[in-house]
Amino acid sequence: MNGTLITALLRQRLTSPLRLAFLVMAMTFPLLIVAADPSSGFAAVETSLVFAWIFGAGMIGQDTSSGVLQLLLARPVRRDVYALSRWFAVSLATAAAAVAQVGLAALILSARGARPEPGAVGFAWANHVTSAFGATAPLLLLSTFTPGIGDLGLLWLIYMCGGILQMAGGAFHSPAVLQAGHEVQDFLNPMIDFAKVIGPATSWYEVLAYLSSVTLSLALAIVILNRKELSYASAA
């Protein structure tokens, strides 16, 4: 990890008006729902994936298309350090936003007379932090393929394909196709439901699937970035 790269990305993201506008919307609307319907609990503030998209879109792709990556890698910066620093910075920002949102939701729920259990707040925080570090890893991988914020489009496209596979699996009664669709979507949005992991039916698959998706995404992202040939004369 490189502190300078992490700080630079955070500064870049927090000074982008468009990203900030989306951040305010993603932060506010779910909280309004919580205020309007306290019975929904924390279900309305499951927005860490959206925060990951807001902070993460174009993690590497934007640097590639703007020519920053070519200049940056002309300096003594290792590509794996660059990739991991980008991922860590985006994950940190996503986790901070999600934790703040859950905290605000807990305050709103308490004010509306639906005070959540401390355990529920703890589970929500743990789920959101792992989701933040999880959802940004596949985005990093996809960002190595596409310039600009094409990674987001690619992610939605693959996610839709996963949904289509699930529908086809259900319609044609094929458990393998159904499971394939699930795996595709789980890979793009790795998360751990701690209530499930600690609950009566402990699922190690849940934990292993998360860790596997994150490490695989990071490793492949570095491999692809290492193979990338950057030219000062190239547009992408």
Binding site: R78, G170, L178, A201, W204, A209, L211, L216, I222
Partner: protein, 177 residues
Amino acid sequence: MPPPPELPRGPSRRAPLLLLVIAAALLVARIGSGVWEGRHPPDLPDRMPWHGIASAEADSRASGRLVLYDFSAAWCGPCRQMATEVFADETSARKLGAMFVPVHVVDRAREDGRNQPDVQALEDRFRIEAFPTLVVYAPDTGRHVTITGYGGAASLMQELTQATLTLRTGGGRRDSL
């Protein structure tokens, strides 16, 4: 003049060998645990107060609650996931039991070649094409709301609450009877 900072040595492209090895090991463990957990599903009690197909509509009229048909199949992974996370969960099961007259409808077409007549009639009536599918049905108006797939306990509970509101305010689709 201070000496220039020492630059890191070595190539800028280093293969993430350790990360690749860990990722490969975790992938193998993931597949193994997935297969194992699929073959050994957790033995959790089903806490839902299921009603029979034949008596559901009469029970619904008597209690004023809507009917909740849960169409599932033994081979369907998401159905098992839903059973574990929702129907075996005491709070969710109690809430669903208070909101609905729940009916568990298991498709056996894949295993037995055909379904029981009452199951097949319900599947035809609500045009069930995939599993899991939940149908919230109001016998008084003949309208229903269909929820296909399972996206987690929280979102399912939200969808069911929304479906109830839709039917209570005169919305939903007419059934095909």
